[in-house]
Symmetry: C2
Subunit: 228 residues, 2 copies
């Protein structure tokens, strides 16, 4: 069994190399809240275990063995988030922190039982894909919300799960993965978005979202619609 620290390194390398190939020591250090020197030390260990490819000064990538472990931990994390949310009613904004500790500790048996209880889900409460038990991830295509134009409508696909305050803010507008909305206006000079959120009773709730917030929202099913 790997240590918790080693598992977190692998998970982080996976996430960072998804958007950008080779991962530099500095980027990884910042992501893990650790100094670059500590990263170098751990990469050496991971390399002797054949979990990463690493040439000095050249950045790091996962080997297929390393990737398999990373996906295993990510699967634990996302299943746990959804399980805690659905089965125990743990709030949307605290499941991440809780799962961060539990992911290293649950057995394959408990993982399988949660999966069954949840009906073999494919996304976590923040819209992130849950790798299947063989480590296959089905990543839906989506765009950062900042790329939307006035008048377009879409559906929330995924939101960042690390900042509880952001998640509470989104929840205050009922803005969850699966929620549909339309862009009514975008203020100039990188200003805020005004959107209309589709609600069950057809009324359409309005919300104003600052730029920082929209960077953490990803959308799909983008369509151009007639202005009302």
């Amino acid at each position: 069994m790997l240590t918790q620290a080693a598992e977190d390194y692998l998970k982080s390398i996976y996430k960072l190399q998804e958007k950008g190939g080779k991962v530099s020591t500095g980027v990884l250090a910042q992501y893990l809240n650790v100094k670059p020197a500590s990263v170098t030390g751990m990469l050496k260990k991971l390399k002797t275990m054949n979990l990463v490819n690493h040439e000095r000064y050249q950045g790091v990538t996962l080997t297929s063995a390393g990737k398999a472990i990373a996906l295993e931990i990510i699967r634990h994390h996302r299943l746990l988030e959804l399980y805690l949310f659905r089965a125990l009613g743990v709030p949307w904004d605290s499941v991440h922190e809780e799962a961060e500790k539990l992911e290293h500790v649950i057995s394959e048996d408990v993982e399988a039982r949660m999966d069954e209880f949840l009906g073999y889900p494919t996304t976590d409460p923040h819209g992130a894909p849950i790798p299947d038990k063989n480590g296959v991830v089905t990543q839906k295509a989506y765009f950062q919300m900042t790329t939307l134009h006035k008048g377009q409508s879409c559906v929330v696909a995924e939101v960042s799960d690390t900042d509880p305050a952001l998640l509470r803010h989104l929840a205050s507008f009922n803005l969850y993965p699966g929620t549909a909305f339309r862009v009514l206006d975008i203020a100039p000079f990188e200003g805020p978005f005004t959107i209309e959120i589709a609600t069950e009773n057809e009324e359409g709730q309005q919300a104003i979202l600052g730029r920082e917030v929209t960077k953490h929202i990803f959308v799909a099913d983008v369509q151009d619609t007639e202005p009302t």
Copy 2:
């Protein structure tokens, strides 16, 4: 926050001092699968944190602060065992091992939610009492099964939870906490017990339990009955 190792020491000291007051270094070492020298080292640390009373060569006891932490961990452990058993159907013989890792990692919020889901239970799947949220334990009076005499009937109160093979053996006879049985015979020279287990359809299943097994079973509601 304490380390996982420190929490395990406190939990173990609590359990050992329950039956026998002061706990010796050697006994604690054996219980934790660690060498006596390692125990001495940890006791020094725990003493500086005012969690234990320890005079060299004189054994160790918990301070009230240490006891509070021990009970907190034990509460986690037993709630987790029951939760895994009831909510996820984890088998009787593997909940202990699973809970051993999770107990150090769950939040007070998840603890409270499991407690609510379970209806504020008072005993775990092996019959051990669950301390309440204020650390109050209500320990039912019971006796080791070896103290029973031929003809007596009783109810299983608690069984040891550490050995999965033993638990599977007991399960094969449907012998769980709450199960009633009567002693039909005790073979001489520390021999095995023959018992009749009460079943729903009144038939009465017989079982033969060796001495080693009976040492791990604790019973209550002992009554002298007429031999049939």
